[in-house]
């Protein structure tokens, strides 16, 4: 903590320079989309990012992101508080995870006093076991939090991380760090289980929030979980304190504002003789609010007991909701438990290393403090209707919406988008059954008649389900995503305007697309100019030749990358995803491909590349066995069917023989996929 600032941007910039990112995963409670767009996105998308997913709590949204460049989703499973704070970046051979207390807000990374750690894994070093735990977390319980394309992105992250772990030559050692999440067991119980014994010399608590005071009439904890069990109570009942002489065993570092604090002062009076209180000195020059969280436990080392020093930090506050509950009714938390070397000084040394004594001052007179209870988060009933994902398929102008717990008697639906604070109807129709809904949504995209720039009107939608009499049975809001985020800069679809499909293919192959900052600058200039100055942008010399060269460069680059990481599921997924994406884009009626012949050629090549990719995959049983699942996740067959139906409809003079060959390529893909599916 102290005076060192944890800069997300620096952590990102110094990570794997020169490598593209295979995945970025961000988990946060509060989310300030505008800040993220301004402060983080340009740095994050300074290089190509194959998969980017941000999961957040649905109730702690400060501002919605004015961008669809990365996939956003509200945590769907943790209906109460989705509290983890994680930033995970995965490059070709290394990964970096930042776990701490900071939310994705301006406060979290610029204003507050936060506490967090950076973990690395690379072929030569790092905490492999820690990342294995992280992998288990994101591939396991975290999957419950999202659906649809969000889940697909998460799967991409999982695969990418798995490959980095597999590449690491570090032995699965006993890392001092253990990753803890509370999807199965409350953190407190896990903590107790990790400790060698329960005799403590000292306990240090750093926390901005706490359980409610007894005086408060709104119990924090959800019913049926931990009851009114107090975590302070548990601290003093589960542990036996053996403090050094004339020392109070427990210290609490907390925040106060002219006496107002979240600390349950009245409750704590019961242990007044055993507690030292340290308040954030609001009068100091450093006005940062405390938001960091840490629990330090120092075990005594006498009478045959092993001395120990453990630190728990991450998302959990020192509250019963964080430490004693599990989702969905309780908080979802993510923490790191670190076993520190126990040498002279113990917890004291940690507090001085963190600079707590400079930032906090002892509270002499408790009477000046009064508890100000935080407003509890809105409660959401278990099993209530939720829209868990909404992704716009740009090429087809269809929104695919995933829902949970739809009302059984819904008869119609209304899809609306938030435009400048009000809700605009995009589409309505008959509500079917099932948990996926496909809605035509051309109204979500506007085209500037002058510049031909396509812009999304909103990044947030609302789905309402109505009964037969027209009353709203259920409604929910969710961020709107797109299936080709890399084409977007903010809400503007710069990709196709800036670059034609063939150029984008070339860039994907060459791996050097325009950075986000460049795109932003371009967009700014583009918007400033009037239409007449812009017309020349997309015309080139030797277009046909360029078209060929672009395809060639792009597809070759893709193939080379696939060859370079044989047996890599990530590479295969990524390749197939791009190929099928292009395939769908190529057959869009108003697509900007010069002629139908160019389309045929492109489809022919894409089919060829798919076959090659499948052929390569078939040589690696591990990947081959995953192929049908991958194909399913990527909706490969949809893309192929679209291509096939386009081919069968196109009636082009003088190219019939050629067309047949292309069609047979696609048939072969279908056959291959079918065969692999049957082998399972």
């Amino acid at each position: 903590m102290g005076n060192e600032r944890l800069s997300l941007v620096d952590a990102l910039g110094s990570f794997a320079p020169g490598q593209p990112l295979r995945a970025a995963l961000v988990l946060t409670y509060c989310f300030d989309g505008r800040w993220f767009e301004e402060a983080v996105a340009p740095e994050l998308f300074e290089r190509p990012v194959a998969a980017a997913l941000l999961l957040r709590d649905r109730n702690a949204l400060i501002t919605e992101a004015p961008s669809v460049r990365y996939h956003r989703a509200d945590a769907a499973f943790s209906t109460r508080v989705f509290h983890p704070k994680l930033a995970l970046f995965v490059a070709e051979d290394r990964a970096r995870a930042i776990i701490g207390s900071a939310n994705m807000t301006r406060g979290g990374f610029e204003r507050n006093l936060e506490l967090g750690s950076v973990f690395d894994l690379h072929p030569e070093g790092g905490s492999r076991s820690f990342f294995e735990e992280l992998h288990a977390y994101i591939s396991g319980p975290l999957r419950r939090e999202t659906d649809g394309n969000g889940l697909l992105e998460l799967q991409n992250v999982v695969v990418a991380l798995k490959e980095v772990i597999d590449q690491s030559r570090v032995a699965t050692d006993s890392s001092p760090h253990v990753l803890l999440h509370n999807y199965d067991t409350p953190l407190w119980e896990q903590l107790l289980a990790k400790l060698p014994h329960r005799r403590l010399r000292r306990a240090v608590i750093v926390s901005p929030f706490f359980e409610p005071d007894t005086a408060s009439d709104s119990p924090e904890d959800p019913p049926g979980q931990a009851g009114d069990d107090s975590v302070f109570n548990r601290l003093f009942s589960d542990f036996e304190f053996e403090p050094a002489s004339d020392e109070k065993p427990a210290s609490v570092y907390f925040h106060e504002d002219f006496g107002a604090t979240a600390l349950p002062v009245a409750k704590l009076n019961a242990w007044k003789g055993r507690l030292n209180l340290h308040h954030r000195l609001a009068t100091s020059d450093d006005a940062r609010r405390l938001h960091g969280k840490m629990l330090i436990l120092e075990g005594v080392g006498k009478k045959g007991h092993e001395p120990f020093l453990f630190a728990l930090h991450g998302s959990p506050n020192f509250s019963s909701a964080a430490l004693l509950t599990i989702p969905p009714e309780g908080n979802a938390e993510l923490a790191v438990l670190t076993r520190l070397p126990h040498r002279g000084g113990g917890a004291t040394k940690v507090t001085s290393a963190l600079g707590l004594n400079e930032l906090f001052g002892p509270v002499v007179d408790w009477s000046g403090l009064h508890t100000k209870s935080a407003t509890p988060p809105p409660r959401r009933e278990l099993g209530s209707f939720a829209v868990t994902d909404a992704t716009l398929q740009v090429a087809g102008q269809v929104v695919v919406i995933s829902v949970r717990n739809p009302p059984p008697d819904g008869s119609t639906f209304r899809l609306m988008a938030e435009v400048e604070g009000s809700w605009v109807l995009i589409c309505d129709g008959v509500w079917g059954s099932g948990e996926t809904l496909k809605v035509p949504a051309s109204g979500l995209v506007t085209e500037d008649p002058k510049t031909k720039l396509h812009v999304l009107i909103s990044s947030r939608i609302r789905l309402e389900i109505l009964s037969q009499d027209g009353s709203v049975l259920a409604k929910d809001e969710t961020p709107l995503n797109v299936d080709c985020p890399q084409h977007f800069c903010g809400l503007a679809m710069v990709g196709p305007l800036l670059l034609t499909l063939d150029q984008r293919i070339a860039q994907a192959g060459a791996g050097s697309p325009m950075t986000y900052r460049e795109q932003q600058k371009w967009l700014e200039r583009f918007r400033q100019q009037d239409a007449s100055a812009v017309v020349t942008l997309s015309s080139h010399q030797a277009d046909l030749d360029k078209f060929f060269r672009n395809l060639h460069t792009g597809l070759k680059g893709l193939r080379r990358r696939l060859d370079k990481s044989p047996g890599s599921e990530f590479a295969l997924r990524n390749t197939l995803r791009q190929l099928s994406g292009w395939c769908s884009e190529a057959v869009v009626p108003e697509g900007k491909i010069a002629t139908d012949e160019c389309r045929i050629f492109l489809l022919d090549r894409l089919a060829g590349e798919m076959l090659t990719a499948l052929g390569v995959a078939a040589e690696y049983p591990a990947v081959a066995s995953r192929l049908p699942a991958i194909a399913n996740e990527l909706s490969l067959t949809t893309a192929i069917q679209a291509a096939q139906s386009w081919l069968s409809q196109s009636n082009l003079h003088d190219t019939a023989a050629y067309l047949r060959k292309t069609q047979s390529r696609f048939n072969e893909i279908t056959k291959t996929l079918g065969r692999l599916g049957r082998q399972q």
């Binding site: 015309s539 080139h540 010399q541 030797a542 277009d543 046909l544 030749d545 360029k546 078209f547 060929f548 060269r549 060639h552 010069a594 002629t595 012949e597 160019c598 045929i600 050629f601 022919d604 060829g608 082009l652 003079h653 003088d654 190219t655 019939a656 023989a657 050629y658 060959k661």
Partner: protein, 825 residues
């Protein structure tokens, strides 16, 4: 020896090259001035194609010889280095055996009687192969020691430059070594641009690769003078010009100045070109022009002090006569919504803009698929070559074939490869080249339409104006062999009816009935006239007019022992039935009576034939021929002439070919193209790009494809734009470019044109533009004063150089006699 300029003029006056050759005389004077007055060792004669550089070089040689005689110095050894195909030409030029031709004709005046130069000209040795070197040696031409050096005997040695390469000399032939070591009085290097780029010939003068080291190479650098002959002082980069000047032993400090000056000029030209889209009044653009002008005229090195400009520096060594008489206009052939349109452009325009906006010839639809697949095939082949699985690397040829015609591609070996894309291409072509459902390549289609349009235009011209005649069309296609049959067939099908209908229309109007009737009449009259002529000839010469048994040409040998008219009879009879022949008759206004036909046949067909046959008989087949010409030479020359005639009177279709695969007929096609009659169109491959004359009846030059090298493009156009063009005041030569939109050709075009712009500016080939500023100035000021409504036109106009700008930036390397103000300075 320092001589004043006046003395040089006296010297030059002794060797007049005849009226109309003043420019050449000026070049000779400039070269001699440089060599004798300024004490330089060499000069570059860089006249444009067709100016007679050979004659200039030989005149300089003769005058150097004369000068040496006056100062009692020796001038007796001259080396001519050239490629093997030019040996014959050189030998002919210096030979005194050809009456009325060759350089010695200029040395007939009394001044030159028994001049030592004749000794030189009588001892001409041609060294073509290693064996001929051996033969020469065994026939007594061997070196001897003089002043401590081995020297060859006096004379002119015309040597294949390959024999001077290190590899050839490594065969240890003493004669080659002697040639190498001789300290020549003069070396003439023909096609000197080959010596300025790191081609093999360059190593003859700079074995260690350093052109600035003058003490190496042939004779250890110890030769007195050197003349470099080239029409293209640089082909690809201006740096070659510096190498060329180093080859002629330019003074090292001057050479350094020229090199730096050129670099500076080129970089400022780039800057200027970048500003081309601005208005000519824009201060930046105007400033760039001013700066260039200053570099050119006053301050080549941009030091800020007045000194020598780049132009003056270059002129010290480089003498370049440029043509001024003919104007060429360049057009892009565009096909816009099925209608053809020619858009004029200037080579100094901003062509990127122009080409981008022009529709050119669309290559879309199934053809685009073909193109993409062909590119893929080529790309894969290139990659295989790079990986070492295949050695093939010369790829653009294959691509050009694809841009030429479908039969051309179908015949390509590339298509037989076992690659997916080759299979796809075969699939496409199989269905397209089927005779029943033939699919024409868009370019073939376009050419056919284009020529048909020209034919219609020409027919209208001839129909409208008495005394006018058809201007012919020349089509250049480097890759013609596979394409020519299809092109010829398709173009004939399109053009044939146009001429036939015109003839029918004329006959109908004159009440002469069908074309066939006229043909029959002509045939009968021709037969009769030839019969008479034959009888007359045998009566006059007896057996002397028989074809000698020694003739070897197939078409003559068959007639051995029969009158020499016989081989010509059938083709003459057929010839008089050609459409264009009949058209000329009908349009001649001589009437259509039998007498007129008979007179026409006699005058146009039989008389010229008789005349040349008489000449052959009298010159060569007579006993009275000069005793000095031996029997063998006489017969050979007689046969040559007879074959020429044979070629000239051959029957030819409306569309002719000149390429590698019809080498037997191609001369006939070429000669007739230069005449009034068939062919109307000549399809020319690379073979015909250099050295041949095609200017007499031609006005249209069509670039069916492109050469990478602008010098070659210039050579193509130079077939027509040469002395003798401009028969009927047609104004300009019409040059058309056929580019396929979106394909590699666009890239080739830009590359060529970029190079060509250097060409235009640095070695200014357009004297017209330098000379006629005043007239155009008035035009352009008028044009700019008019309000411009068409935005696109405006953009295109903006990329254009104004005449003033051209005058300010183009270098003028003509010998200084031509521009009086230069002499004054």
């Amino acid at each position: 020896v320092s001589k004043s300029r006046a003395n040089v003029n006296d010297l030059v006056a002794r060797l007049p090259l005849g009226p109309g050759h003043e420019l050449q005389e000026h070049a000779v004077a400039a070269a001699l001035n440089s060599l004798l007055c300024e004490g330089r060792r060499g000069a570059v004669l860089a006249d444009e194609v067709g100016f007679g550089k050979t004659y200039e070089a030989l005149a300089v040689m003769a005058l150097l010889c004369d000068h040496a005689r006056r100062w009692r110095r020796e001038f007796s050894r001259v080396l001519v280095l050239c490629k093997s195909s030019l040996l014959q030409k050189w030998q002919e030029e210096v030979s005194s055996n050809r009456p009325g031709a060759g350089f010695p004709q200029y040395l007939q005046s009394s001044y030159w009687k028994s001049h030592p130069v004749h000794e030189l000209l009588e001892r001409v040795h041609r060294v073509e192969r290693r064996k001929s070197a051996d033969d020469l040696r065994s026939s007594g031409v061997r070196g001897h020691r003089r002043d401590g050096h081995i020297q060859v005997q006096p004379g002119i040695y015309i040597v294949n430059h390959d024999l001077m390469s290190e590899r050839a000399r490594a065969t240890r032939r003493p004669f080659l070594t002697q040639l190498w070591n001789t300290q020549w009085d003069l070396i003439i290097v023909d096609e000197a641009h080959h010596y300025a780029r790191w081609n093999r010939p360059a190593y003859i003068f700079a074995p260690d690769g350093d052109f600035r080291n003058y003490d190496q190479g042939i004779a250890g650098g110890n030769f007195r003078h050197i003349l470099a002959l080239t029409a293209t002082p640089f082909e690809l980069t201006p740096q070659e010009m510096v190498n060329l000047l180093a080859l002629v032993r330019a003074d090292p400090s001057e050479l350094a100045d020229i090199e730096n000056g050129l670099d500076l000029y080129v970089s400022h030209l780039d800057r200027f070109f970048a500003l081309r889209q601005r208005s000519p009044d824009d201060p930046l653009r105007a400033g760039a022009v001013q700066h260039l002008r200053r570099l050119r005229d006053e301050d080549a090195l941009g030091t800020g002090r007045s000194g020598l400009g780049l132009q003056a520096l270059l002129r010290n060594y480089l003498i370049r006569n440029t043509k001024s008489q003919n104007e060429r206009r360049y057009f892009l052939v565009n096909k816009d919504k099925d209608a053809y349109r020619q858009d004029a452009f200037d080579k100094l325009d901003d062509l990127h803009q122009r080409v981008q906006r022009a529709p050119l010839l669309p290559f879309d639809g199934p053809d685009a698929l073909f193109y993409l697949e062909l590119r893929e095939l080529i790309q894969e082949t290139v990659e295989q070559a790079r990986e070492g699985t295949d050695r093939r690397t010369f790829i653009t040829t294959d691509l050009r074939q694809g841009l030429s015609s479908y039969p051309q591609v179908a015949a390509s070996k590339l298509l037989q490869r076992n690659l997916e894309s080759a299979k796809r291409l075969r699939t496409l072509l199989k269905s397209w080249n089927k005779p029943g459902s033939l699919r024409l390549h868009p370019k073939v289609r376009a050419l056919v339409d284009l020529i048909a349009a020209i034919a219609v235009e020409e027919v209208n011209k001839v129909r409208g104006g008495a005394g006018t005649w058809f201007s012919k069309v020349l089509v250049f296609n480097k890759m013609i062999e596979g394409t020519a049959p299809q092109l010829r067939e398709e173009v004939s099908d399109a053009v044939g009816p146009i001429f036939a209908n015109f003839l029918a229309e004329l006959l109908d109007r004159a009440g002469l009935g069908a074309t066939e009737d006229l043909q029959t009449r002509f045939r009968d009259h021709a037969r009769q006239a030839l019969e008479r002529s034959r009888a007359e000839m045998t009566g006059r010469y007896g057996t002397r007019c028989n074809v000698p048994a020694e003739f070897r040409h197939d078409d003559l040998r068959r007639f051995a022992g029969r009158p020499i008219l016989d081989p010509y009879r059938e083709s003459l009879v057929r010839r008089c039935q050609q459409t264009m022949f009949l058209l000329r008759f009908v349009l001649s206004g001589t009437g259509t009576s039998d007498e007129a036909v008979s007179a026409w046949v006699t005058n146009e067909l039989v008389k010229p034939m008789e005349e040349s046959l008489h000449r052959i008989i009298e010159h060569y087949l007579t006993q009275d021929a000069e005793a000095t010409t031996d029997e063998f030479d006489r017969l050979e020359l007689a046969e040559q002439e007879a074959v020429f005639r044979l070629e000239e009177c051959r029957w030819i279709d409306l569309v002719g070919r000149y390429d590698g695969s019809n080498s037997r007929d191609r001369e006939a096609h070429r000669r007739n193209f230069n005449d009034y009659y068939n062919p109307f169109v000549l399809l020319v491959s690379r073979v015909g790009e250099e050295g041949i004359d095609l200017q007499k009846q031609c006005r249209y030059v069509v670039h069916y494809d492109l050469e990478w090298n602008p010098a070659r493009m210039e050579q193509r156009e130079g077939r027509v734009d040469r002395v003798g063009w401009g028969r009927s005041g047609e104004g300009f030569i019409d040059v058309r470019f056929m580019l396929l939109k979106g394909t590699y050709e666009e890239r080739i075009f830009h590359t060529v044109m970029q190079r060509d712009q250097w060409f235009q500016i640095l070695i200014g080939s357009k004297r017209r533009e330098l000379g006629e500023i005043k007239g155009e100035e008035a035009d352009s000021s008028e044009a700019t004063s008019q309000p411009d409504t068409d935005e696109i036109e405006d953009v295109l106009e903006r990329g254009r150089l104004t005449p003033q700008e051209k005058a300010a930036v183009m270098l003028d390397l003509r010998p200084s006699h031509v521009s009086p103000e230069e002499t004054a300075r």
